[in-house]
């Protein structure tokens, strides 16, 4: 069922945790709330779950207004940060709990618990206690418990934080597959931008109690509308400058930057975003419209790629990321002076004053 938030405001004393949030999660969609800690995303989650109530605004699930409803009448399945499995109950009893609360008859309860456990590939583990399971298995139990009662909405509160990297990737894909298969409307809360890009249908980036941008992962990454989003999502080179008339900008300590986009008012201050992978280094830089010379300050080997930190003559620092193949040596060495460049198409302009 779809979820709609309208003008949601929540204050704690003098602090405004949510400063008017509008949001719509379509039926079957996985929408991610991405933001740093303190951005209000946890308050938002609690308001949707019913653990907190907004000072202003409304929360609707489908056609029902649930703004002031207690959690139990919302039919929202939630996976907590630390799973919050009940340690004194077996896995099957944990998964059965929401069904018992809904007075589902025993036979049907058993059938649905078995189904849910099979869905997360834990059919054999019903009689175990949570502490006898690994972190990944515990998370699957939490997931089974959250979906067993066919919730109207699934809430995921940073559910992968406690897992190691390998397992996290496996679980992310598994959650994604399950969510698609069951067509669950899902609100996913995280501060991990990489995770958000992997999982989401759409991403809403939150900052200081507001949604800064909401859009497809590719859009949020390639075309951020605010400096905060550009900085928070992915790695970035942000150049502060002033727009000139004919598809160009003046950046102090760098010079003139040619832009593909135009139409903005000349004289407007703007942030130019160049992603590290868009920077060309060495021979590749020849012939590009925007060029400079940089000294390699640091190289970080990342397996698939190498990250270069470079100091330009003017004192600016830029980050570049070059793809690597296992057979090739690193193309550059620290301390080397290299030509760098980027094409006008790879510069994204965030004009200030625009939101």
């Amino acid at each position: 069922m779809d979820l709609t938030l309208r003008g949601v405001v929540r204050r704690f004393g003098a602090v405004t945790a949510l400063a008017g949030v509008d949001l719509n999660v379509a039926e079957g969609e996985l929408l991610t709330i991405l933001g740093p800690s303190g951005s209000g995303k946890t308050t938002l989650l609690k308001i949707v779950a019913g653990f907190e109530f907004p000072d202003e605004g409304s929360v609707r699930l489908g056609a029902t207004d649930v703004t002031m409803s207690p959690p139990r009448s919302r039919d929202v399945g939630m996976v907590f940060q630390n799973y919050a499995l009940f340690p004194h109950l077996t896995v099957a009893q944990n998964v059965s709990f929401p069904l018992e609360m809904r007075h589902v008859p025993k036979a049907e309860r058993q059938r649905r618990v078995a189904e849910a456990l099979a869905l997360v590939e834990l059919a054999e583990y019903g009689e175990r206690l949570p502490r006898q399971l690994s972190g990944g298995q515990q998370q699957r139990v939490a997931l089974a418990r959250a979906i067993v009662f066919n919730p109207r909405l699934l809430l995921l509160d940073e559910p992968f934080g406690a897992l190691d990297r390998k397992l996290r990737e496996v679980m992310q894909l598994e959650v994604r597959r399950l969510q698609r298969r069951l067509k669950l409307t899902t609100l996913f809360i995280t501060h991990d931008q990489e995770e958000a890009l992997i999982l989401s249908d759409r991403i809403a980036v939150m900052n200081a109690g507001r949604i800064e941008q909401i859009g497809l992962p590719g859009d949020v990454y390639a075309r951020p509308t605010t400096r905060f989003v550009a900085d928070f999502v992915g790695e970035s080179n942000l150049l502060e400058g002033t727009l000139l008339d004919a598809g160009a900008a003046e950046v102090p300590r760098f010079g003139r930057v040619a832009l593909a986009a135009d139409g903005a008012q000349p004289g407007t201050r703007a942030t130019l975003l160049v992603r590290p992978e868009a920077l060309r280094v060495g021979a590749d830089a020849a012939g590009l419209a925007n060029r400079a010379t940089g000294r390699i300050v640091e190289t970080v080997f990342l397996g698939l790629s190498v990250k270069l930190r470079m100091a330009l003559e003017g004192g600016l620092e830029l980050l570049a990321r070059l793809p690597l193949r296992p057979s090739e040596p690193l193309p550059v060495a620290e301390g080397e002076e290299v030509p760098i460049g980027f094409s006008p198409e790879d510069v994204h302009v965030i004009a200030h004053g625009a939101r």
Binding site: F51, P70, G77, F80, A84, R102, R131
Partner: protein
Amino acid sequence: MPRARRPAQPGRVVLTIVASLVFAFLMLPLVVVFPISVSSAAYLQFPPPGFSWQWYERFLDDPTWVESAIRSFKVALLCTALSMGLGVPLSFALVRSRLWGMRLADKLVAAPIIVPNIILSIAIYSLFSRLQLIGAWYGIAVAHTILALPFVVILVSAGLRTFDEAQEQAAMGLGASWGVAVWRITLPQLRPSLIAAGFLAFVTSFDELVIAMFLSGASMTLPKKMFDNIMLEIDPTIAAVSVMQIVLACICLGAAALFGRGVVPGAATK
């Protein structure tokens, strides 16, 4: 397999000796009481001259002893029920409420432990005499609840403070009302604290003499009866009663250890 023995450290030796002495000091009364309770002599004599069960028989044959024992049971059970019934909700209020003054209230809970029992007894006596509760067993239970309540609150709120409140939220998110969440999720996980609290409340009442002296009138509790026995006719019956009390306490402790084993961490894993 041969294993290298660690050389005995002097600190460890001293610790063992001190621990043994403390243990002996604690156990010594038992060593004296049990032989006296099976003494063949008609007075308190140690070591006893011969063996007999006569003092246990005397206890069971004397209706005033048995009645006072039963009365003490009733008083202790009611006191346990009352102090748990009041103490558990009070603990929730003290730990969870963010109301002004809760921190102060938290400290004040221990007050009945600090006030001398005799002062408490006099105060309760004057109140209960107006209410005509002197001599009523449930009156004593109510008075004992004042003594037992702090122990219950201290133990249960300590357990509650270490309990992860997200568990309760999770239960409510899954469809439980707050009451159901507490009953099904919180309280079962507090079981060790609850059992310890209940045991302490029971023992506090079962052993209590001063309040019982003021309030029991003619219908005596077991400690009062024991006290009177010492005052009037010292014979080894009191030793027999003591042994039975000790055995009862051991059974309770054993049961508490069995059922109250840490439900959350450290329980046996298959």
